[in-house]
């Protein structure tokens, strides 16, 4: 049987998680190299106009992973209204055309991820028992939840750090240790230690602390290279950022509170989305994360956020639709909001200039109105 060497694109730490999951169950796996401008350029060159940034960036990641020895790709797909479910087909065709050989793609389905992973394990011929699978799966869920919780805590701590960069340095080290941990108990231990270390970071007082909610398409919200490390930059301006989306939003089963908790959360968000659409639309959504963008935007004021940053990629259909809704939310709820197409900015400096101007606006408003 052919030896499959798997890979998976970068999105925050997702590729590391996949590495843990598949190597623990007997597969061979190569992570794509660290994302750089070269990855972005390659993705753009192989991709095309009309493809969004996540698609192009992932093509770049996969290209370099294959150059480094991977010979097959794990991809995810769901069937919902946006074109995302078809991306793996475009990636396969582009890479096969360019590289000149066949590249098997194994798909993890959003609705039944466990069943999809089991199928991949069978097709790649890896040896595992069902008990091993259940244990590793459970352990992977613990790691994913820990990543989300640590990210939230780091974002709370970072704005007030006395030594610039200390939070990020501690945070990234904990994450890597946590992902490498060999048992659920060890993972929990590292997570608790990580929380302790983060809470012990020396803090200064921030004169006017601000909180901003990051909404938009999941790749732009989670992947630091897609959003020019917005969490770190906002922290230098004394602003706490909260991601509206997390890994759990990729599939219901990943929710820390299980499927029931996911459904409860969905209902809450659907309620907010109902401010702008009929219930049928609010429940089913209209593709991608468009409904989530609107729902999170609609709850921002009530949850005490001072502003909303909406990040999305050029040609992202659901979030282009969500953009005028975010504008409306800003008017109705009297909360500053800014929609940014990340590629259009083109440079870190320009992006940061816009963010700085936005923060000035938030401070002015808070000074005048106290809100």
């Amino acid at each position: 049987m052919k030896e499959y060497i798997l890979t998976y694109p970068n999105m925050d730490y997702q590729s590391y998680i996949m590495e843990f999951l598949f190597t623990s169950l007997g597969c061979k796996y190569i992570r794509p190299p660290k994302f750089t401008d070269k990855t972005r350029e390659t993705g753009k060159k192989l991709g095309r106009e009309g493809f969004c940034q996540p698609l192009n960036n992932c093509i770049g990641d996969l290209y370099f992973a294959i150059k480094n020895g991977a010979n097959s790709v794990i991809s995810t797909a769901g069937v919902d209204q946006c074109r995302y479910g078809f991306y793996w087909v475009n990636q396969k065709v582009i890479l096969e055309d360019y590289l000149g050989f066949e590249i098997p793609f194994f798909i993890i389905n959003h609705i039944e991820p466990e069943a999809s992973v089991l199928e991949i394990l069978d097709r790649t011929g890896s040896k595992y028992t069902l008990k091993q699978f259940k244990d590793i799966w459970h352990h992977t869920m613990i790691k994913i939840n820990s990543l989300t919780e640590l990210n939230r805590l780091a974002n709370k701590i970072r704005p007030g750090e006395t030594v610039r960069g200390e939070t990020s340095s501690v945070y990234h080290k904990i994450i890597l240790d946590l992902i490498a941990a060999g048992s659920p108990d060890k993972t929990e231990e590292i997570k608790k230690e990580g929380e302790r270390l983060l809470r012990n970071i020396s803090q200064r007082e921030i004169k006017m602390p601000l909180r901003v909610l990051l909404v938009g398409e999941i790749y732009e919200v989670l992947e630091p290279h897609a959003n020019y490390n917005i969490e770190e930059y906002f922290a230098t301006l004394g602003v706490e950022v909260e991601r509206s989306l997390s890994y759990q939003d990729l599939a219901p089963i990943l929710s820390p509170s299980g499927e029931e908790g996911y459904i409860k959360n969905e209902r809450m968000l659907t309620g907010y989305a109902c401010r702008f659409m009929v219930q049928g639309m609010a429940i089913d959504g209209f593709g991608g994360y468009g409904k989530m963008t609107i729902a999170h935007g609609a709850r921002a004021k009530e949850y005490g956020f001072d502003g909303i940053i909406h990040l999305y990629s050029f040609s992202c259909m659901p979030d282009i639709i969500a953009k005028p809704f975010i504008k409306k939310i800003s008017e109705l709820d009297n909360i500053p909001a800014m929609s940014i197409v990340v590629e259009e900015i083109g440079s870190r400096e320009l992006f940061y200039n816009r963010l700085e101007a936005f923060v000035d606006l938030l401070r002015e408003k808070k000074k005048k109105t106290g809100e």
């Binding site: 493809f51 969004c52 005028p324």
Partner: protein, 327 residues
């Protein structure tokens, strides 16, 4: 007589003539807005710029329809018109987008047309129609009768469109006049791929179909092809192991493949709309997989509100020179 307005964009071609016939059978005066190409950039630039042209055009036409004075606008939510296939996100959320931009709308009739898990289109539409016109005090019997007539009209029109070789608007006129039309015997056929609202709407495609005819070749749309005749396993042929679940995608791929195989199709043009996510995805697969299998002249034209006629015609002329030169 109450006036009900329809706008000729995006979902119009997916759900008609069924719904137009339904309302005219119930005694409504059906008004269809087409609009003009002149001043299109100015007309559409008040709306979210990154939306595709068909969507921006639809939003601009709502205002024009209101000026014309209608009692109702037919503005459905259309998550799906075919089992197992979704429409584009923009099509799904159209009424909500319109409410963002317009304050004082006339009464909207906005049923939720969702055939995603429905096998029986007639039954689904009929149940929808009964609920929709309840507030208008129309009896269920009348509704049922109007639905039957509408369904027959839809089926006859689809057959007529297929046989005549005409594009939608011309076909509708000929159909309503009960004309008999024979497809062109010209043996230089050019297949035009793309969404139905791009290919069949002369305003959105800048009258390209007629320009192609004036250049002495016969344009052909996927609606003129018998897509399911051959036992074509597209998944196997293209080595793509998944169903195409979006927006006319399956038909576009099949048409491209069959057009590639068909010797009477001398060239293929893909009309994309700028910033259409699905066009980008489909066109890439067609140019990389299908056109490699059948090396025929192939052209991708990307359209938006700023596309100038001169630019498009130049490219078209060069393409058709290549097609004719190959004969």
């Amino acid at each position: 007589m109450k006036k009900i307005g329809f706008i000729k964009s995006i979902y119009y071609y997916l759900i008609n003539p069924y719904w137009k016939k339904f309302f005219s059978e119930l005694g409504f005066e059906v008004i269809v807005r087409q609009g003009e190409r002149q001043n299109l950039p100015a007309k559409v630039n008040t709306f979210e710029n990154e939306l595709c042209l068909p969507m921006k055009y639809l939003l601009s036409q709502v205002g024009d329809l209101m000026e014309e004075g209608v009692d109702y606008i037919f503005l459905p939510h259309v998550p799906s018109v075919k089992k197992g296939v979704f429409c584009c996100p923009k099509v799904i959320i159209t009424p909500e987008l319109i409410k963002l931009y317009y304050d004082k709308l006339p009464s909207l009739l906005n049923p939720l047309i969702n055939m995603y898990d429905k096998s029986n289109r007639f039954k689904a539409n009929r149940d929808l129609a009964i609920d929709l016109v309840k507030p208008l005090n129309i009896s269920e019997e009348e509704v049922e009768k109007a639905c039957r007539t509408a369904e027959e009209t839809q089926k006859s029109f689809d057959k007529f469109l297929f046989k005549s070789g005409l594009f939608y608007d011309e076909a509708e006129e000929a159909f309503n006049r009960r004309e008999e039309v024979f497809p062109s015997q010209n043996d230089t056929k050019i297949l035009i791929l793309g969404h139905k609202y791009t290919v069949h709407n002369s305003l959105l495609n800048n009258n390209l179909i007629n320009e192609i005819k004036y250049m002495g070749v016969t344009p052909l749309a996927k609606e003129h092809m018998f897509l399911y005749r051959l036992n074509l396993n597209l998944k196997k042929e293209l080595n793509i192991d998944t169903d195409v679940y979006f927006s006319e995608g399956a038909e576009v791929f099949r048409a491209a493949y069959l057009g590639g195989q068909d010797n009477s199709v001398k060239g293929i043009i893909y009309l994309s709309m700028f910033n259409c996510g699905f066009d980008a995805v489909m066109e890439d697969i067609i140019s990389k997989r299908i056109m490699k299998k059948f090396p025929k002249p192939y052209l991708n034209l990307v359209l938006d509100e700023h596309s100038t006629k001169a630019n498009l015609l130049t490219r078209l002329e060069v393409f058709l020179d290549i097609v004719k030169g190959r004969k």
